[in-house]
Symmetry: D2
Subunit: 355 residues, 4 copies
C-alpha cells in the first residue's frame, strides 16, 4: 500500500491539491491521549503557506476537522480520521498545464503509470499532501511526549549558506527560515529573497534532533531505526538524501576517530562521543538521535523552461502558480512529523517481555 | 517483522555468525526462472572474506545450499529456502568479548533489548548476515535480467580519496577495491593497506547505477522508489547515509540548474539532464537510476579502546578477531542485491491494468 | 492494523455510530474505472436501515460523499476517500447505556481493552460501520465486473426455516428478506414479524455464489482463497461461522463421494461435480465459488435482561434503541462487498509472469 | 506473502514433500524462552505419519533441527529457523502422477498458476508442510504457557459419528483417534478401519478449547479474534469450515437464548452462559474460547477415479501412494499450532498503554 505508513501506528493519507480536501486515517493510536487541538493546529500553521514574505503568497487556513476516534476530548484507540478542506484554490491557474509535462515534476510519470491524472496543482503529487502528515505526526508527538521523547528539526543549510555553530534549539522559531543561528538565518532569508526576485528556487538541508528515546527502539536487520527514518524522510516531496550521526561530511574519519567509547555517566551507561547518532545495530542506545535531510530546489520556477506536452510537442513553459522559492522553512514540521510517526510505530512494535 | 524485506517479493533472513549457518527464504519469486547456481555463487564470491590482501584473512567457502522451491533447475513460484553453513569459525576468539560491550557495535543495544545475546562474532548483528542477502538478491537479479534491468555498484570513495571521472562500469572488477578508475583504485588500495598496518579502519562511498527500468516503477507517497531504496540501503550494516540523483554535493544548485527538461529522443520521451536520478514523484521516469551509499569505518579495530563490560566496569579492549580494514569492496555486491530485491518487489506491486 | 483489510487493494475504515460520520479510504484501486455513483448508492440502499417492515424503523439517507481519488468521473489510481455523514442520530436514546454492559455486545471488552469507549449506539462496534464496507466493496465490484466476475449473495436460512431448492439468483430481490425461494421467503418474513412482536431476534445463514473467476486466484498456504474469504466473512459483525463447497451439512461424505473428477467441457477443463466450491489447494479452479456465512441473532432485544454496569452492579436492561429483529436481509450486500474486496486483492497480488 | 503467517509473531514456511526437507522461520518470538526440545518433538510425534493402525503406514522420523535464534538453550529474540529433513521418500511412487491431475488435489491449479510444479507427493501442496506449522506452533505454545494460556483440540466427529457428551479433555490422548469420549472413539476407529479396507476416506470435525486468555486480545473490525482464527484454520489442508461459540448447530436459537448475561463471579466479571465462545466484538472477554474446524475426506483414495492428464486426455487413476483414510487424528496438533500462533500474534499486536 503506497499510501499507508507504518505497521502498528499507521497513517493512511488521501487527497489532492485541488479536490475537496486532503486528510487521512491514523490507526493504532494509543487510547486515552488528550486531543490538544490547539497544539495540532499550531503544527499545521508552521507548515502553512503564506506565513512569511519568503514563502508562497498563497493563503490557506488549513483548519483540520476530526471525523472519528475521539470521545469527550480523548483518543479511544479506534481510527482517527480527519480532513483539511481545500479552499482558495485557483484551479484555473492550472488550465495551461493540463497537457504539459513540467520539468522535474511527477506529471509525466503519473500519466504513464496511471493513464490519467488530476493536473490541477499537481493533484496527488502536490506537497499539499504533507499537511496531512503534519496532523498525524502531531498525534504521534502527543503520544511521544508522554514517553518523554522530544523531536526538533531546523533549517541548517540553504544553498551554499550553512550554519557554523552547534544549534541552540530555542532559537529555531526566532526567524522565518527556522535556522537557530540568527546571523546565518539573516543571510538565508536575504538569499531566498534574491532568488524569488529572479524567479528561481533553492534547496538545502534540514537537521533533526531527537532527545529522550531510551535504549531498545528499532529492530535489527530490515527495520533498523535509521532504515525506517530514511524511508520516512525520503518519502517527503523534494528530498534527495539522508544521513545520520556523522554523515557524508565525516567520510574521511577513521574507525579510531568514529567509534563511540562506552562510559559511565553516574549510574547510567553513556558514550564519550556520539558519532553514531544514537543508534547501534539499528537500535537506539539512549543517546541523542540526530540526522539530516537534503531537499532539492522547488521544481516550480518562474523562469522559462523547455519541455514536452502529452502529445510529445516541444513547448515553452513559464509557471504562473503561486509557489515557494525555498521549501525548507515550511518543511521543518514535516520532518518532525515523519520522525514522530516512525518512532511511535517502532515503540509499539517492540516485542513485550514475557516474565 | 524486522527480518523480512519487501511486500510481494519477500526475503526473510536468519542466522548468526557462529551458529549453524545463515540463510533465508525468498517468497514471491516468479516461477520458471532458471536457477543459475554458478552466477549466484559468483555473486557470493564477490562478497566473500579473504578474497584479497586488503580484506580480512578469514576464509570461508560460503557455498549456498538450496533447500526448496526449485524443480528440475527452475523456480516453481513456491518459497526458495537456502542456507550457507558456517565453517572455519574460531568461536573461542570471542571468549574475551562475552562480557564486553565493544564501542560502536550492537553488543550493548542487543543486551538491553533482549536480555540475552549470542556474543560470538557479533551473533545476529554480524555483517555475515549480508551473505544471505547476496543470495536472495542474485535471485532477484536473475528475474530483473529478464525484464532488461541491470544493476551495477562500485566503490567511488574511500576516506578522502574520491573518483574524479565518470565511471567506466566495465573496469569495476579490474581491481580488488572495485573502483572503476584504476589510478584512484591504486591510491585507495595503498591507503587501506596503511590503515591495516596501523590497526585502524576506514569508510567511504559506494555508488550504484541502474539501467533499463522503464517508466512507472515505484509508488507515490510512502513507497516512493527512493524511499524504498533508502530503507534498503540503510539496512546494510555500517551504512550512514544515502542520496540519489544530484545529492549532498549539489546542495547549492538552483531550481533552474537542477530541473530536468523533457526532450524527445527519437520516438521516446527523455530528459536533457538527469539530476533527478531517474525518479520523479517517487516513480521511475525511464532514465538511469543512480544513488550513493555512505559507509562508516568498520567498528572493529586493533587499536586499544576504552569501554565498559556488562557489569559497568571500565575495561580496555584490543580486538583479536579477523576483520576488514575497509568493508567497501565486499559491500559492492550487497548494495546491488538490496537494490535488486527492492526493484523487483516494486515491479510486482504495480497494479495491473484492467482493460 | 485492525482497521485495514487487504494487501494491494486495501480498505481502511473509520467512524462511529454517533460521531460525525463513517467512511474509509480505498487504496490500490486500479485507475480508469468509471465511478458509477448510482450503482454504489444502490448497493448502500440495499444495506440501509428502514427499507422494509421487517427491518429497523431507523431511517438514514446513507448518502456517500467521495473526497478524493476521482477525476472527471474516473478512478485515478490514488486513494479514494469517502464519508457517509451521520444524521438522524438519537444519541440520547443511549444515555441509559452509558454505564451498562449490554449482554453479548462489545461494551465490556472495549471498556477493558481501551479504558474508554463511545457508548452511543455501540460507537465503533456498531454494525453501522459496515456501510463503509459496502461502498468500498462496490468499487471492488465495479473493477471485478471488468474482469468478468459476478458475486451474488442471498438469505438461505432464517432460524430453522431453510431453503429447499437450488437458488434461482434472479429472484433474490423479489422479496424483502432476499431469499430466492419465494414460498420460503414468505415463511421467513412471517417468522421475523412474530419475533419482532415478541421483542426477540433471530439469526440464520447467508449463501454466496461467485461466477467468472478464472483458474489461478488465491495463494497456497496462508493466503488460500478460502482462508482469506473466511477472515473477511468472520470480520462482519454477528457472524459465527463459515463453510465453502460442501460444508458442515456434508460431513458424512466419503472421499469417493466428495472428490470432483476432472472432465473435458469442450476445449476447457471442468469438473463433474463441484463439491470443492471452486477451490483446490487454496487456488480457484475455474468453477463456481460458493460459501455460507452463519449469523447469530442480533444481540439487541427488547426483552428484559440481567447484566452488570461498569461498577459491577447487577442491573436489569430493556433496550430502547431502534433495531432489527433479523440482520440477514441487510447483510446480504455486506457479504458481497467483503467477497469482492477479497477477490480483487487476490487478483492484484498474483505474481505477474516474466516472459 | 502467501507463505508468511502473522504480523509480529510471524512464521514463514518452506519446503516440498519430496525435496530436501520442510521447515520455516519464526520471527518475533519473545527472547528468554527455554527451548524445550522434548516438548516440541512430542508435538511433532502427535502429527507424525505411521503412529497407529488407522493412519498411513508411511514412517517418517520427523526430527526437527534448529538452525538459528537459540543461544545456550534459550530464544534470543532473533529469527528461529528450523528444518525437518525429508527421508523415506518413495519419489518413484509418484512417477505415474507426473502428468495426471488428481481429482480434488491442487495439481491442476498449481500447473495453471505457475506453469510448473513438483508433482512428487503433491510437492508444496502436500499436507507434509503442516509439520513445520507444528514446530512453529509449539514455540508459540511455550510462550503462551508463560502467559497462562492452554490450547487443547480433539476429534469430535468422524463422518456421521459424533460425540454425545461434553469433552473430558484429559481423555484425548487415551485413544488413537484423539476423541475424548472413549466409546465414541471406538466407533470412529472401527469406521475408519472399514473405510481403509474399502480404499475410501472420511472427514469430520475437530473441536478446540482455549483456556486462560484474559480480556482484551483481538482487534476490532478486520483483525477480530474469530476472523484471524478462521483464516488460520481454513489455511490448513482439507479444511472446509469453521464456527465458534454456538455455531451452525445453533442456527435456530433466538437472541434471548443466545445472549450471554454478564454476572459477578466473586471479584471478577463473568457470563452466565458462553454462547459467544469467549469473544465479543472481536475481542476476548475472559471466558473460554472454543471453535470447530471441518475437514473434508482425504482426496487420495485407492478406488478407481476418472480424471484428465495435462494433455487433457481422459485417464483412469488408482492411487498407489501411502495415505491416511482419515486425517483428523493427526490434524489435532495442527489445529492447536495454528491457534497458538494466532493468539500469540494478537497478544504481541496489542497496543501497549501509555501512562
Amino acid at each position: 500500500m503506497s499510501n499507508t505508513l507504518g505497521k502498528l501506528f499507521t497513517f493512511t493519507s488521501f487527497g489532492e491539491s485541488h479536490g475537496k480536501g486532503i486528510g487521512g486515517i491514523v490507526d493504532g493510536c494509543p487510547s486515552g491521549i488528550e486531543l490538544d487541538e490547539e497544539y495540532i493546529q499550531n503544527e499545521l500553521n508552521r507548515r502553512r503557506p503564506g506565513q512569511s514574505a519568503i514563502s508562497t503568497p498563497r493563503k490557506e487556513a488549513d483548519k483540520v476537522e476530526f471525523l472519528s476516534g475521539i470521545f469527550e476530548g480523548k483518543t479511544t484507540g479506534t481510527p482517527i480520521a480527519f480532513i483539511i478542506w481545500n479552499e482558495n484554490q485557483h484551479s484555473t491557474d492550472y488550465d495551461h498545464l493540463k497537457e504539459v509535462y513540467r520539468p522535474s515534476h511527477a506529471d509525466y510519470t503519473y500519466q504513464q503509470k496511471y493513464g490519467i491524472r488530476d493536473h490541477r496543482g499537481g493533484g496527488r503529487s502536490s506537497a499539499r499532501e504533507t499537511a496531512s502528515r503534519v496532523v498525524a505526526g502531531a498525534l504521534a508527538k502527543l503520544a511521544l511526549k508522554k514517553l518523554g521523547v522530544e523531536i526538533t528539526a531546523y533549517t541548517s543549510q540553504v544553498g551554499h549558506i550553512a550554519m557554523t555553530k552547534t544549534a541552540n534549539l530555542s532559537l529555531i522559531e526566532s526567524n522565518v527560515v527556522r535556522c537557530p543561528q540568527p546571523e546565518i538565518a539573516e543571510q538565508m532569508i536575504q538569499y531566498i529573497a534574491e532568488l524569488k526576485q529572479e524567479g528561481d528556487s533553492i534547496g538545502g538541508i534540514i537537521s533533526c534532533m531527537i532527545k529522550g528515546v531510551p535504549v531498545g527502539w528499532g529492530e535489527p536487520i530490515f527495520d533498523k531505526l535509521q532504515s525506517r527514518l530514511a524511508q520516512s524522510m525520503l518519502s517527503i516531496n523534494a528530498t534527495h538524501g539522508f544521513d545520520y550521526g556523522r554523515g557524508f561530511e565525516g567520510v574521511s574519519l577513521r574507525g579510531s576517530e568514529m567509534n563511540d567509547s562506552l562510559i559511565k555517566d553516574g549510574d547510567k551507561v553513556s558514550t564519550k562521543t556520539n558519532n553514531s547518532g544514537g543508534i547501534q545495530g539499528g537500535i537506539s542506545n539512549g543517546q541523542d538521535i540526530y540526522f539530516r535531510v537534503l531537499f532539492k530546489p522547488v521544481a516550480t520556477i518562474s523562469k522559462k523552461q523547455n519541455t514536452l506536452d502529452i502529445h510529445s510537442n516541444e513547448v515553452e513553459l513559464e509557471a504562473k502558480g503561486r509557489h515557494d522559492p525555498c521549501v525548507l522553512p515550511r518543511a521543518v514540521p514535516i520532518v518532525e512529523a515523519m520522525a514522530a510517526m516512525t518512532l511511535l510505530d517502532l515503540w509499539l512494535s517492540k516485542t513485550p517481555e514475557i516474565l
